[in-house]
Every structure is written in C-alpha cells, then in structure tokens.
Amino acid sequence: MSYIAKPSAHHPALPRNALGLTRRDYEGSMSTLCAGCGHDSITAAIIEACYEMDLPAHRIAKVSGIGCSSKAPTYFLSRSHGFNSVHGRMPSVTTGANMANRDLVYIGVSGDGDTASIGLGQFCHAVRRRLNMTYIVMNNGCYGLTKGQFSATNDKTSPSKKGEANPFDAIDLCQMAIQLGAGFVARSFSGDKRQLLPLIQAAISYKGFAFLDVISPCVTFNNHPTSTKSYEYVRMHNMASENQLDYVEPMEEITTDYAEGTSTSVELHDGSHLMLYKVDGGHDPRDSDAAIQTIRTGAAKGTVVTGLLYVNEGQVDLHDVLGTDERPLNEVPMSELCPGSKALEGINARLR
C-alpha cells in the first residue's frame, strides 16, 4: 500500500483557531489502519487537542517506533516533522531530538509491543531521564501487523481470538511509569474522546515526562467477546468516573464550579490549569502510592481505572538535570561552540 494523500481543499467556512488554522490543517494523510481501529480515534483526539490549543504544527515533532501504532503519526499533523524510527527505540530518538531542541513539543507514539516488550528498557530510561515529552501508548494487547500475537500488556485472563489462553501476566505500564518517576500518568480509552481530549492537552502542556496509556481495541485481532481489550469490555469495566479532569488553557478563565472539597486546581508550567475533581472516594492524584493502589485494586476487580492517575507538579526535566542553555542547542552558533585556535594552543601547552 502506498502513501495516500488527502485532498487539500476544504470548506471555506470551517472554523479557525487563534492561528487562523482549521482542523484540517492539523490532519495527516489517509489512515491505512483497519476500519474501526482504536488508533484512528486517538489520532482524531490528537488533531483536536492541537487545534484547540492553537499549537503551531511545525513546532511539534512526532516520533514513533514500529507497528500499527507507530504508523499513526503519518495520519496527523502533516505540517510537523515526523520520525518513524526502529522498533522499540522511539524513546532514545526522542531523547536526542529533545536534547537538540528543547523548544519543540514532542509527541511520541508507541504501541504495547513497542513499549512493553522490545522497547521496555528504552521506555523505562526515558521516564527516568524526565524527558519533556508526551508519550502515548496505543494499547491493544496484541501485535497487529504480524497478525494478532499476544503482547505483554494483554491480561492473563484474556484469550486470543482463536481461544488460546495467555500464559503470562500483563505488564501494567501506568504502574510502571509511576514507579519510575513519570510526572504525569493517565490511562484512557480510545472510545472515550471526552476523557481523552483533555488528557492529551494536559499531557502536552505538562513539562516533564507525561505518559498516556490509551486502550485502543484492535478490531481485527483483539476485539472478541472474551478479550479484555475489546470495545465492549472496556466500556463495561471502565471506571472513568474515578477522577475527572478538565484542562484549562493558559489564557482562559477557570469557570467550572465544583463542589467544595472535591476539586483541586493544578497549575502547569505553561500557565494552564488542570481542574481535578474527585467523585466518591477517588484518590489524590498527587499521591503516587494511592495511584498505584487504585490501579491494582481496580485490576483485581477486573475494572480498568482510567483518567488522570498521577501528577507531580514540580518535576524537573532532562534539560534542568543537564544544566543546558535556555536556547535550543541546535541554534547556538558555531562561533560559540568551537573554542578556536587560541584555546587550542593552551590545550597543546598543557600536553607538553
């Protein structure tokens, strides 16, 4: 299958954002994924998020690994540079890209095979490095492109389409991310755009490592009645009400009114706010232990806890750790980078 471009013409009356751009300007080429694939819904949410946030698309870099999920960046933000790297290695490529230019927005897209198996090490270390990026896992519990093998996030209780049992326990990427020190950790569902959209917006605004595990059913290989990554199962077992979130952009006024004692406002680095409100016994998402407990308790009951699970307001990012200049390193002129012949004479003298 070859690259399919979308026609660039669009209706003149389409609404425009603050940059004068329409949603269409944030789209990519035609998706080549299966009809109904959860990944396409996440793609749509990313487009919506960037459009609503008035992000200049060329200031975003899309990075991915290999697999169905990693193809997705072709289908959004055609005005952004993208990099479809090698299997499981998106985190290292994004690390280098971010080191070179700290001013761009980095959206990394990966899958459950790409992140929880071949790229597990790279994932862990990107979290550990506090890389300032949004890391989205389009999680369907299986390997789509190679025709439906189990991935490491597939629940042990969830057999394959042919009925084979899954012999191994699942890796819970959200628990892992919290444990490794990710500053922003959320789980969502591709079938719940209302929840997903503010989470993506908040993740993009967050300075530090923002992790989004989005359950995204594979309609071809893992959407059967006994699968725990199917549309039906997730709809039935989604505890989305646990913690709800509104994303408030930097310039916007906070207008939503929540009942006393149930809401918390978290200010992000760029001046935007997260309005968190708890419903019945939800955990405080600033408490990492409580977050892990909520995920584990839910999983034991067979429910999928979604929403913002954990946020650390004060995370430093890799550049803070490295002490790099405020300017993007790729913009520092050679005259400042190359010490020149005079300094070299001094170095030679020391080696005599």
């Binding site: 299958m1 070859s2 690259y3 200049p56 698309a57 060329h58 200031r59 870099a61 990075v63 960046p73 072709t74 055609s78 005005r79 952004s80 540079h81 993208g82 990099f83 479809n84 790297s85 090698v86 290695r89 985190p91 290292s92 490529v93 994004t94 690390t95 280098g96 890209a97 971010n98 080191m99 070179a100 230019n101 001013d103 761009l104 090490g121 790279q122 862990c124 270390h125 490095r129 550049h319 490295l322 002490g323 790099t324 200049d325 390193l329 790729n330 520092v332 050679m334 400042e336 980078l337 190359c338 010490p339 020149g340 012949s341 300094a343 070299l344 170095i347 030679n348 080696l351 005599r352």
Partner: protein, 607 residues
C-alpha cells in the same frame, strides 16, 4: 641496538597498586627531556589484583612502534616473575623488590635488587603510604640508573599532584630514597640511559580518546550519548572534560548535552535523534557496541541522518579481548546493518589525526548526510602517544551540508527549478536537501522513516521507486570517495612493483619496518589508507604494483577483502599480512613478513 636514548623499559606491576601514575611519570619525564617515547599500557580487564604491564620504548630516532626485547624490567609483581624474567634480552637488567629473598634462574642479565618494601616500611607508618611510595622509590632508582633529569621529574610530579601539593614532599622523599639506594649499590648510570634530545620538542603527549573528545568539541557537537565500554569510554569522558572547560556560558549554562544511555542501542538512538534535529551528534563505542548499534546504523543510512560514531576497536569476536587492541571491525563497520548498506570510515593513525579526522567526520557526515565512523583502536585511543600538536584553522568554516532555512525553502523552487523534496537529487551529487523540524510553518515538513520511501519521503512499496532511491544513495558513495581524506603514498622506489598497504595504528610499525627493510636492501612503496570508500589514488596505487602486502590487525584480512570487492583489486596480488594477538604491531613483524615472502634466505639469515 640498545643504548643511549634507545631502549625499552617495562614495568610489571599489580593492577590497582598506584603504579600507573608512577610509570606515566617516567614516560613523561623522558618525553620532556625531548626524547620520543611510546608507552603501552598492557592491562587486564580488572580493577584490582591482576597483573598489568607498562612498556615504554625510548627512541631518539623517533621509532615509536612497540618493540619486542625488553632491556630493562621493573619486576614488581611476584605473580608474573617467571614470564617477566624470560622477556629480558641477554645483557639486560631486572630491578626487583628484594625485601623477600628470591632466586632468579638466569645469569645472562644484571639483577638490580632493592629492598623497596623494607625501605618504605622503615619510612612510613601508614599502610597505604607504604604501598604507594614503593612506586616512587623505584622511580627514584630509575632516575639514577637511567640518568633522567631530576628537575624535569619534579615538574612532572608537580603537574600530577596539582591540587594535592602537600603530597609533593613525601613523593620527593620516596624518590630520594630510591636514588640514594641506587647510587650506593649500583654502577649508575647504566649503558642504556637517557640524555636531553631535540626530537620530541614541539610534540604533545596525549591519548587518541582525549583527542577524539576534543575533536567533537571543536566540531561543534552538542549531543553526545554513550554507554560505558572499554576502550571507548575515555572518549566520551574526554568530550565531557573539555566541554566543561570550554562550553559553559557566563551564566553557567552548558552548550552541550551528554547522556550516559542505558545501552548502545539507546546511545546511537539519541545521537540519531539529535542529528535529525540539526545538532551535531555522536556516540563512541567498541566492537560489541557496533553489533548492538547495527539496526540503527541502517536507519541512519537509509533515512540519511548525519551522525558520527567513534569505534575504538578491540580484540574480538564476542567479548573477546576488551583490553587488547586490534582492527577487527573493518567489515562489520563498512557494511553495518542488514540490507544494502555501506558506510564511510576514517582511519586515524595517531591522536593528532583522531583530532583532525574526528572533527572532519562531522563535516563529512553533514555533507554526505550519512553516518561516518572514525575507526580508532585501543592502542591509539588509550595509550599516550608522542604526536604533533593539534591544529585548527579559524578561517575554515564548519561544513553544515545541505540544510535549508525557511527563506531557502521558500526560494527553493525558483532557485533550483523544481520543488523541494527531501530525497530529490537536485544537484547531481546524489545528496538531497534536508530540513529541520520547526523551520517553516507550512513548508519542508516530511516523515523520516526506515521503510522504503520515494523522493518526497512518502512511504512506498513500489519496487522501481525503491531501487531508484537506493541506487541514488549508492551514488552518494561516489561523491564520498571524492571528498574523504586521500591516502598517504610513500614511493621509495619508482621502479618497484611491490608495495605495502596499511592504515591506523600500524603506521609506526610499518614505517620502521620499511626503514629496516631498506637497510637490508629491500625497498618497497607504501600507501596508508585514510578512508573508505576508496578513491582513485587507492586504485592507481594498486594498479601500479604487482604484489602488495596488506598489513592489518585481524585474522581474515578484512581490509584486503574490502580492496578486492570495493576497489576491484585482484586478490592474487594482495598478500594478507596479519597480526592479531591483541598487541600493538612491531616493526620486526612487518620486516619478517615481507622478507619471508620476498627473500626467504635473507629472512633466515637475519634471525
């Protein structure tokens, strides 16, 4: 042969005993007396306890290859007494710690017993001092025996103890104890000894890894990612050391980023990400790291991303000999990664070239939009070399290659007569124009991928397009052949149809070997390769000679294979001349290999 300013001294010590810095002081003192030295650190893969050696060849004539036949052994390690004794040439000397009685089963050498442990035990109370100063006691004895300059030694010790000046007096006291003992008990100086000379004047003493790290600073590299592996580790550390000194703003902000990655895969991934985003980016590794980086190298090749990789080669296969040298990665680097790949390689032969070629590698990588590998090795990388000082031409701008600014993008179609496409060969040199993320709001964005793509970076499964694109990338190699460093050709006899091809760290051994052969009446022409792909000069040299010794440090003659497949040189005229025991090559090896082939009778007579 041995004599004044011409001898080999070897130190046999225990790893972790503090001997390394004392031994370096001896080498540095001789160097500062103006005498070329070539110290070789022969160390175990260990931090403490295993035997380690430090060999210093002293040669006023400037022959700095390793030389067999130890004139003077400092035998400080009982574990290796037997082999150390056996290595001393007849008529040579062996200095040892005679605190414990010891019988040496040889009567053709002179023993120099010094009760070093007893001297130290008498002088110092602290166990650590007693241990460390043992080294300085033998340094003191050597000073007298080899008539080294005390004032020069003091300067060297002073430099080494910068920041720890209060240790100076005790160190000098230990030196004095050694000197006094030697003067009282031995005939000083020995026939082999040092005297001030001129031939090392103006040179510097430095390791190739230090030079490579400095090269990356001068080349303007801002992203470095690496994973610790002997013998490349000190290159990344060298970069950090110099960057810390030379690349920090007045506000204390760093103009560089270094990440010690979780493995070699991540290290090269970081470099690729940085280079994709327009920062000069590099990594440093050794053999096993090359294996791990191979997949990513294919991506960088196919997606045309300019990274620099320093490969400090060591003995393989597998983990092999991590602390011994070799040139066994020629083929694996030239063709690293699956599919049709080929990479540009540079072969520095000393630290000066690690600096110049290391910096040039970044220009070549960005000009050619492809990975460039600097093929150093453990000998160049980790040993101190007496070498020409580093030079830098401030007037010469860094070549950043074909990267379009927003204005250039807008003007592209008018200027070039066709719209911009990431992989379009507009100039006929097979090198396309690239754009960096964030350059222009509506132009120049594309999707970088390792899957097959057309000239506009769009995914394709059309075999004709695929073939067209990889053919164009291959043609880029023709451009590369024209701009990589040319070989160094040494025609000693215009009529001679026999030649030698060599590269890298073998340079001193080959040059000395050729001199020795010339003295024996055998004159050969020589060519030192500096780069792959091979250019026309390489082919011309091969055509002009009927038989060519290809001297290299691996088992299978990898450079020879490359000359056959990539320069169409008939294999029948290329004589594999191979040394792969992990030790730096000697001139004797080269001389014997050539003689035994060309003049077996002379070879027999000479031995």
């Amino acid at each position: 042969m041995s004599g004044i300013n011409d001898f080999v001294i070897k130190f046999a010590t225990v790893n972790g005993s503090g001997s390394a810095s004392a031994n370096t002081m001896v080498a540095k003192t001789l160097f500062r007396m103006g005498i070329p030295v070539s110290p070789k650190n022969i160390f175990p893969s260990n931090i403490q306890g295993l035997p380690t050696w430090y060999e210093v060849r002293v040669s006023e004539a400037g022959y700095v290859a390793r030389r067999d036949g130890i004139d003077f052994m400092v035998a400080m390690n009982p574990q290796t007494y037997a082999e150390d004794l056996a290595e001393v040439v007849p008529g040579g000397w062996l200095l040892y710690d005679s605190s414990m009685p010891r019988i040496w089963p040889r009567d053709d050498i002179t023993l120099l017993p010094i009760p070093i442990a007893q001297i130290c035990a008498k002088q110092w109370k602290d166990a650590r001092q007693r241990q460390l100063f043992k080294n300085m006691v033998y340094v003191g004895a050597l000073l007298e025996l080899l008539s080294m300059d005390l004032e020069v030694l003091k300067g060297v010790i002073g430099d080494q103890l910068k920041g720890k000046e209060k240790l100076m007096a005790a160190n000098l006291q230990a030196v004095d104890l050694g000197r006094d003992y030697a003067r009282e008990h031995f005939q000083c100086p020995l026939p082999i000894r040092a005297r001030h000379a001129e031939s090392a004047k103006g040179k510097i003493m430095v390791t190739g890894n230090d030079a490579g790290g400095l090269a990356a600073v001068y080349a303007g590299a801002t992203v470095c990612a690496w994973y610790p592996i002997t013998p490349s580790t000190s290159l990344a550390e060298g970069f950090e050391k110099y960057a810390r000194r030379l690349r920090v703003t007045k506000e204390g902000k760093r103009l560089y980023g270094i990440v010690q990655a979780e493995d070699e895969l991540a290290a090269i991934g970081v470099a690729i990400g940085g280079a994709w985003n327009g920062a000069r980016s590099f990594t440093a590794t050794s053999g096993p790291g090359i294996s791990l980086m191979s997949e990513f190298l294919g991506l960088a090749y196919f997606a045309e991303i300019p990274i620099v990789l320093f490969n400090i080669q060591r003995g393989g296969p597998s983990t092999g000999m991590p602390t011994r040298t070799g040139q066994p990665d020629i083929i694996s680097c030239a063709f690293a990664s699956h599919g049709d790949t080929k990479h540009v390689l540079l072969f520095p032969s000393n630290p000066t070239e690690c600096f110049s070629m290391g910096a040039e590698a970044f220009d070549l990588a960005e000009r050619l939009q492809t990975p460039v590998m600097v093929m150093s090795d453990l000998d160049i990388g980790m040993n101190d070399w007496i070498t020409d000082p580093f030079g830098w031409d401030d007037a010469k701008a860094h070549d950043r290659g074909k990267v379009l600014s927003a204005e250039q993008l807008e003007a592209f179609k008018t200027a070039k007569g066709q719209p911009w496409g990431r992989y379009q060969d507009v100039d006929g040199d097979a090198i396309p124009y690239r754009t960096l993320p964030g350059t222009h709001p509506t132009m120049g964005a594309f999707f970088t991928r390792g899957t097959s793509h057309d000239e506009n970076a769009r995914y394709t499964e059309d075999g004709r397009i695929h073939q067209r694109v990889i053919d164009r990338i291959r043609r880029k190699f023709d451009t590369a052949a024209q701009i990589v460093p040319k070989p160094e050709i040494d025609i000693r006899d215009k009529n001679c149809r026999t030649g030698v091809i060599y590269f890298g760290a073998n340079r001193p051994a080959v040059l000395e070997g050729l001199d020795e052969l010339e003295r024996a009446g055998v004159r050969l022409n020589a060519m030192r390769l500096k780069a792959f792909p091979f250019n026309e000069d390489v082919k011309a040299f091969c055509e002009a000679h009927d038989q060519i010794f290809v001297v290299e440090q691996n088992r299978d003659g990898q450079m020879r294979s490359l000359l056959i497949t990539e320069a169409d040189v008939p294999g029948t005229k290329l004589i594999a001349t191979l040394s792969y025991d992990g030790m730096p090559m000697t001139a004797a090896f080269v001389r014997k290999a050539v003689l035994s082939r060309l003049h077996p009778e002379k070879a027999a007579a000479a031995e």
